[in-house]
């Protein structure tokens, strides 16, 4: 295997900033959550790559990735529950309609 670590890091950086772009431009709660998942996923790739290329005798990055995946699952479950509740209350998930917490 002779893929340089830099290629993997560049791939994950691009995925992360595509997620940032989506987070800035999307106007819908579910789409915002999809962008967040892209960013979390890119960060997990970074942990695994640094573990594999820099400290292969240790397991820190590997286990951090595992815990990151677990936290992402918990976060998505709660966020989707909140989104369904928001929809039940105001019949829309467009973020322009979510004004009650603004001030």
């Amino acid at each position: 295997m002779n893929i340089p670590a830099e290629y993997m890091l560049i791939l994950s950086a691009m995925l992360f900033f595509i997620g940032v772009f989506g987070f800035f431009t999307r106007r819908n709660l579910v789409s915002l959550l999809i962008s967040t998942e892209l960013m979390l996923n890119a960060v997990d790739i970074n942990f695994a790559v640094f573990n594999a290329y820099c400290q292969p005798q240790h397991l820190e990055g590997y286990i951090f990735s595992l815990f990151g995946i677990g936290v992402a699952a918990a976060e998505t479950a709660v966020a989707i529950a909140i989104i369904i509740n928001v929809y039940r209350n105001i019949h829309s998930i467009h973020i322009k309609k979510l004004k009650n917490l603004k001030h």
């Binding site: 295997m1 002779n2 893929i3 340089p4 670590a5 830099e6 290629y7 993997m8 890091l9 560049i10 950086a13 691009m14 995925l15 992360f16 900033f17 595509i18 997620g19 940032v20 772009f21 989506g22 800035f24 431009t25 999307r26 819908n28 579910v30 999809i34 998942e37 892209l38 996923n41 997990d44 790739i45 695994a48 594999a52 290329y53 820099c54 292969p56 240790h58 397991l59 820190e60 590997y62 286990i63 595992l66 995946i69 677990g70 936290v71 992402a72 699952a73 918990a74 976060e75 998505t76 479950a77 709660v78 989707i80 529950a81 909140i82 369904i84 929809y87 019949h91 998930i93 467009h94």
Partner: protein
């Protein structure tokens, strides 16, 4: 040009294109499916690093759990209210400028840093070692975060039921 590089290139192209369309597509169901492709590509990257357990976890939790939850939410809310209205051109340009600047900065820093990243071995991780690291109490063992994660998942289950239940 060896086979690993070809596989990596294919994965990278699929992931980048899927991610781009996932954040620009106007159909929410299509965006979710493209997110699924990105997650499968990430699992492929983990398999290329010989981290097979991590790849399996990625497929089960992300592709099997999170995407199914997304699809449930979309179907519960109804696709009609999901029309992704076009955002203002000013916000679009601001988001693109931020993303491109950040991407350029990150790529510049990655290319100009020496990570001492030449220690890759194709051994993968022994499952016994991983299990001991997750459940052990010695130095470099992770029983405390493991148990904290179980409490977090329990709290999240209770919280999600509390929030989403009908009054």
């Amino acid at each position: 040009m060896d086979i690993n590089m070809i596989i990596f290139g294919g994965l990278a192209i699929v992931m980048i294109v899927s991610a781009l369309f996932a954040v620009t597509s106007s159909k929410i169901m299509r965006a979710t499916t493209l997110l699924l492709f990105v997650l499968f590509g990430t699992a492929g990257l983990y398999f290329m690093l010989h981290y097979t357990f991590l790849g399996a976890v990625q497929i089960t939790v992300y592709a099997g759990g999170i995407v199914v939850m997304f699809i449930f939410a979309i179907l519960l809310i109804g696709k009609g209210s999901m029309d992704i209205t076009q955002t203002s051109i000013r916000r679009y340009l601001a988001g693109m400028a931020t993303a491109l600047t950040g991407m350029a900065l990150a790529i510049y820093l990655i290319m100009n840093t020496d990570f001492h990243s030449d220690k890759f071995t194709a051994d993968g991780v022994d499952m016994k070692l991983l299990g001991n690291a997750l459940m052990g109490t010695e130095k470099f063992n992770y029983i405390l975060p493991f148990e904290a994660m179980s409490v977090l998942l329990l709290a999240c289950t209770v919280g999600a039921i509390m929030i989403a239940r009908k009054k």
